[in-house]
Symmetry: C2
Subunit: 335 residues, 2 copies
């Protein structure tokens, strides 16, 4: 089956990765339309020898399109994704617009691929920190039954798109030249700094990012009442997120079984040999499809506790890769 | 009372801060000897208009010295500190050599100043992450009775001394010039990176830094059985540590009472107004004596839970300031 595919938000950091992944993974597309806002219409995007001319995304863009990969803001997505779905196009959406909608499956193909079957035209791709954290949490849940978790994140600037990466780069260069470079994208300088502030604050003192991580983890693992808490922090790292997790399980845990569960899980790479300074780091996992899981240890402060550290590329498993994997499931089901 | 004071390890990053703080806080010293290894003997250290000639630290250096502030490696400290104590000199030691020795008080003056009385010549200054985390944990413990905590750290390179700060600076400059700068101080690059590896690994999979934080917190708060767990992470920040804490308390918590407890605690600055993007960050708290505490929120995943974020200068409250505060207690008791 050859499918016609569109990318909405093709000019962004995730959009660029989508184009690359569709090619590299030999996604069976018959045509590839790249769409963006009217502002970018007419501009060119190059991938290897190919040139794509950006078209403005309108409802009619989705006529006769099979699958649309959305990586746009929540506002434009809320308007256009239903228009695409109405036209029979399956939307895989990277925004937060529909993730918690009970009619929209939220899918990580290594965890709940079966949820793809239930779509009504829109399938949501999870928040980046969530998808990456789950590459450690989900296999351990399968092994021991997750009871509660505490997660603290170390999130790369790519989570704020090209603007975030540019801001870190500009501030670092300015510092090297002894110049000043005040923040524009972020509320505070990010070079040589960090802040516990990703996305907007809610009345309960948590950020929207923190809510996403907790609620989306519960939805993806079908554990609506899972007690969980997190602090999400932006750090001066380019494109891989790290997450320190301390988790409690229903059943007794063992290091050996934990390592086996991680090693057997297709989305994870066991990266855990402290005697040789082996544990995942953001630089190592930038550009990698798999997420690294290491520093696995018995956490005796918790009941059946395990502590571990997960690192994954924010633009790949945290966004574009997971979206393409969902699209691959859609194709498999229609085959 | 005027006291003769010595600094052991005067050439290090902490040593420099000790000299500055003794002057700025008008510490009542009659003389100030600066000591270091034989390698540095004869070199000069300048503070404003004064010049100090470094002497080699030997057992005899401590004859007729009242207080010695040690900021040297554990090996040299294990030899020289007892020699100093034998000569009647009170040692305030910043290394980990004696911290868990039951005969040595481990003191944070805002928390357990009374422990200074029990010294037998040596008083230990806590690990940097511990002292900073406690600026949030201790007042909340006093308010609600701490039951358990999970802490994840974001630790600055100053924790590795001048060498760590230099390595981050060199790697950032090299990156800006498109050059390579392989790691020397750390096992991995630190620019644009981070790693869950501070100090050596133990057989249980935790690092020595993680053990320090847990064991020292228990000793300082006199809670030997406190369940607690931590992941310690080095980040590309110069000199302030951040710690995300999720804690459980014996008594019901309230946001208002938590904020009051923090605001009333002399070592902390309440820095918690998310509506205006106010929360502590490392750049803001570099060079500050107080530690910032913010992002305080009810943590419903834990029993009587609170989550919060603490930031403090690693060289000040994390090392030199706390040591000078201990020395001030010693002087007060002898007055």
């Amino acid at each position: 089956m050859a499918v016609s595919v569109g990318i909405v938000g093709a000019t962004g950091a995730v959009g660029q990765e989508l184009i690359r992944l569709l090619h590299e993974r030999n996604f069976p597309f018959s045509s590839l339309k790249v769409l963006a806002s009217g502002r970018s219409a007419g501009k060119e995007i190059r991938y290897k020898d190919e040139t794509f001319i950006i078209e403005e995304a309108t409802p009619e863009s989705f006529d006769r399109m099979d699958i649309a990969l959305f990586s746009a803001g929540a506002t434009i997505t809320k308007t256009l994704a239903p228009e695409a779905a109405k036209r029979g196009c399956v939307v895989v959406d990277n925004s937060s617009a529909f993730r918690m909608d009970p009619d929209v499956p939220l899918v990580v193909p290594e965890i709940n691929p079966e949820a793809v079957r239930d779509h009504k035209g829109i399938i949501a791709n999870p928040n980046c920190s969530t998808a990456i954290a789950l590459m450690g949490l989900a296999p351990l849940h399968q092994a021991f039954g997750l009871k509660r978790f505490v997660a603290c994140t170390y999130q790369a600037v790519s989570g704020s798109g090209v603007a975030g990466m540019q801001e870190l780069e500009n501030q670092i260069k300015a510092w090297s030249e002894g110049k000043d470079c005040p923040p524009e994208t972020y509320p505070h300088p990010i070079a040589f700094n960090l802040f516990p502030h990703v996305d907007v604050f809610f009345d309960d003192g948590y950020t929207k990012e923190e809510h996403k991580m907790l609620n989306e983890s519960r939805k993806i693992m079908s554990m609506p009442d899972l007690p969980a808490t997190t602090t999400c922090v932006r750090v001066p790292v380019m494109r891989a997120h790290s997450i320190a997790i301390h988790a409690e399980f229903e059943q007794p845990v063992s290091l050996e079984a934990a390592r086996e569960a991680i090693a057997a899980f297709s989305g994870a790479e066991l990266c855990d040999d402290t005697a040789n300074n082996v544990y995942p780091t953001p630089l190592q996992f930038s550009g990698k499809n798999k997420c690294g899981v290491g520093r696995i240890r018995i956490d005796s402060a918790l009941d059946n506790g395990l502590a571990f550290f997960v690192v994954g590329d924010q633009l790949l498993k945290g966004a574009a890769l997971n979206a393409v994997q969902i699209a691959e499931e859609v194709v498999r089901l229609q085959a």
